[in-house]
Structures are given as structure tokens and as C-alpha cells.
């Protein structure tokens, strides 16, 4: 027996120009905020942008965007909802506000199903909000999704960086493109993370200062894009020259 869904995934993603997987070895480093804000900033630059929340057991991009159980449209598969200028997909459309406890195989099945039936169509950037760690989501991405480029997020903490280093080395060993490592929630001027990133031979994308106003802006996209956090990320995007 053959699972037919994997056969169609790269066909579905063919009209997508670039796929950016926002990842980290650790939780709590701000991946979802970075992924959502990067997607919004790219959309503000008039690109066609998708945001896909792959953190199925702990989704949070819907809270950041201030949308509640927004439903994809059924049209020969699923067409993502359009919110705040983004094509948006989250499992929250199907699990609502209930807990969704998934073991690894179930997680993979849900990921494969949604990649197999979602029609992103012509899209400049598909931003993926990855769950933390080096487990099913990362392994499935490496197995099933060609062309994904990883944007890795760390904090200034050595605890976060050590997990990020392992993720980065895994990806590099498999020749998977890594855009670089972003230092998020930076509390003080210090270049130790920058030095560690350089030491492992990856681009240091910059330090995004900790911004207490971000919490106030959750659920309010216009306010979020006015924060120092978003302005700093916008500078990172300009330097990255993704566009």
C-alpha cells in the first residue's frame, strides 16, 4: 500500500517562489511572532505571502493576527483564508480552541494531509511557523518539501543557542539552505551570539531587541507593525535581500 498524499506535495508547492521555515531548537524564543511579523512585513512590501502555522499542538499565529477559527475555502482542496493581506492556514480551523494532543505519527499525518490538499497557488513567499525542536515537523519538511530555506531563531541564552547549533548543523549536514540565525529578544549589547554564529559558519541575521510593547500588540496587526520589534525585523529583511 502506498500513501498517495506525499506524491502531490511538491506539485502543490510548485507555484510558490520561496519557502521560508522559521525554526528553532527551543520553544519560547519568539518563532511565531517572528514568522507572523516577517510574513506581514513581506505582504506590506506588496508580495504575495502565505503563512502556515505548523505548530499543530500549540498554535499561536491566530492569536498574533487576531483571527478566530478562520476557515479555508473548499475548492478542489483547501484554499487558505485571506487575512491581513496573507494567505493563512492554521489547524485551529479544525481543532478550534480545544487541545489537540498528537503523537509523532499523527503529527506527520496532519502535516502531510494539509500540505497535500492546500492550494497556495502563485505565492512569492510561504512562511512556515515551525514547532520547536528537531522532531517530526523538521524531519517531515526535509523528507517531503523541496526548496525549504530555514530561518533559525535563537535568544541570547546559551541554552537556546546550543539547541539552535544542533539544528543548524543537522541542516548543514543535509545540505539544506539556512538563511541564517536571528538573535531575538536581545536584552543588552553583547556580541557573544554573533561570535558563536560566525564560529559555526552561518550568517548572523542580526539582534532584535526585546520589546515589551509586543505583548500589548498581540492580536492587533497594525500596532504590531509599529513596534520596535517589527521595525528591527524589517531591517533584517532588507539586509537579507530575500525579495
Amino acid at each position: 500500500m502506498l500513501d498517495p498524499r506525499a506524491s502531490i506535495i511538491n506539485e502543490r508547492l510548485r507555484p510558490v517562489r520561496r519557502i521560508v521555515a522559521v525554526s528553532s531548537g527551543k520553544g519560547g524564543v519568539g518563532k511565531s511572532l517572528v514568522a507572523s511579523t516577517v510574513a506581514l512585513l513581506l505582504a506590506r512590501r506588496s508580495f504575495s505571502v502565505g503563512l502556515f502555522d505548523l505548530d499543530f499542538t500549540s498554535p499561536s499565529t491566530h492569536l498574533i493576527l487576531g483571527v478566530n477559527r478562520v476557515q479555508p475555502v473548499e475548492d478542489r482542496g483547501l484554499v487558505p483564508a485571506f487575512v491581513h493581506g496573507l494567505k493563512y492556514m492554521s489547524i485551529v480551523a479544525y481543532s478550534g480552541d480545544r487541545a489537540l494532543p498528537l503523537r509523532g505519527a499523527d503529527f506527520s499525518n496532519a502535516l502531510i494531509e494539509l500540505f497535500a490538499v492546500t492550494r497556495w497557488d502563485v505565492t512569492d513567499f510561504l512562511v512556515l511557523d515551525m514547532p520547536p525542536g528537531i522532531s517530526d515537523a523538521v524531519l517531515d519538511m526535509l523528507r517531503l518539501v523541496e526548496r525549504a530555506e530555514f530561518l533559525i531563531v535563537t535568544t541570547s541564552s546559551l541554552l537556546a543557542f546550543e539547541t539552535v547549533r544542533k539544528l543548524a548543523e543537522l541542516l548543514r549536514g543535509l545540505n539544506v539552505p539556512v538563511l541564517g540565525i536571528l538573535e531575538n529578544m536581545k536584552m543588552r549589547e553583547d556580541d557573544s551570539v554573533k561570535r558563536r554564529v560566525k564560529a559555526i559558519g552561518l550568517p548572523y541575521l542580526g539582534g532584535v531587541p526585546f520589546d515589551p510593547m509586543v505583548e500589548e500588540a498581540i492580536g492587533r496587526v497594525d500596532a504590531l507593525l509599529e513596534t520596535a520589534f517589527a521595525r528591527s525585523l524589517n531591517d533584517v529583511l532588507s539586509r537579507l535581500n530575500l525579495c
Partner: protein, 138 residues
């Protein structure tokens, strides 16, 4: 409902044909006599729509192929107490059933083991769509 192109079954049929085409290419088949597909009841695929989509999407290599679609009961097993049961559609209300149709794993948000109440159960069989076999002409 047949002729309704706004259907999720269309995407599943596309996936089956993409996978079947890859098998045809890999095996160097000149023709296909039969494609056997297994559809698990958990996903509640509308078989009429699914078969219609297959008929509309099939390429020339499948023009003489018979598509045999078999359903499979969804069997669930609790990982905590070991109880096994068969999924019944009426365990879910309309909205939950629709969610499970699109993403069968959403079932973990809506049902629990009837014996011990745990949401930690396994879908032993009958989850979704599988390409079971292809009989081809070399």
C-alpha cells in the same frame, strides 16, 4: 453533488493519480487495467464525489483502467487502557465531523476513549486514502 468542483475529494483524487502515475513510470507500464484504492471511514470521504473526480482527472494511461474503491472501517485503540473500538460517524456533531473530514487527526480534539476517557488513542486502520495496488500491462 456530482459536478460540484468545490470539493476536498478532488485534491485527494489528484494525489492518488499522481502517486499511481509515479508507479506507472517507475515500473515502465504501457497500460493500466486496475487501480485499487482503500478509503478509511475516519475521513468520511464522499465516495461518489471521489470517484467522479478520479474519472475527470485520469490521464490517458488510465483510460481503460477500472478504479476499485474499497472502504475500511476505522479502528481505534486506546494507548492508556488498550480498549479497541470502531469509529462511528455519529460520535461527532456536524462541525467536528467536517473538521475530521479535512484533517482526520483533528479527531483527537473531539473524541476520547469510551472506556477510560483518554484522548491518547491510536488510529489502527481506516484513517484516509491509500493506493492499494495497480494491475498494469508491461
Amino acid at each position: 453533488m456530482v459536478g460540484n468542483f468545490k470539493m476536498h475529494e478532488w485534491a485527494l483524487a489528484e494525489a492518488v493519480l499522481a502517486a499511481a502515475s509515479q508507479v506507472v513510470e517507475r515500473e515502465g507500464l504501457k497500460g493500466v487495467r486496475e487501480v485499487r484504492i482503500r478509503v478509511g471511514e475516519l475521513q468520511q470521504v464522499e465516495l461518489e464525489l471521489f470517484e467522479f473526480a478520479l474519472s475527470q482527472l485520469k490521464t490517458d494511461i488510465f483510460k481503460d483502467a477500472k478504479f476499485v474503491v474499497e472502504t475500511q472501517r476505522a479502528r481505534l485503540k486506546c494507548r492508556v487502557c488498550g480498549y479497541e473500538w470502531v469509529f462511528r460517524k455519529n460520535e461527532l456533531d456536524k462541525d467536528s465531523a467536517e473538521a475530521v473530514h479535512f484533517v482526520p487527526e483533528a479527531v483527537h480534539a473531539y473524541i476520547e476513549c469510551p472506556k477510560c476517557g483518554s484522548p491518547d488513542f491510536e488510529v489502527v486502520e481506516g484513517r484516509g486514502v491509500w493506493l492499494e495496488s495497480i494491475i498494469g500491462v508491461k
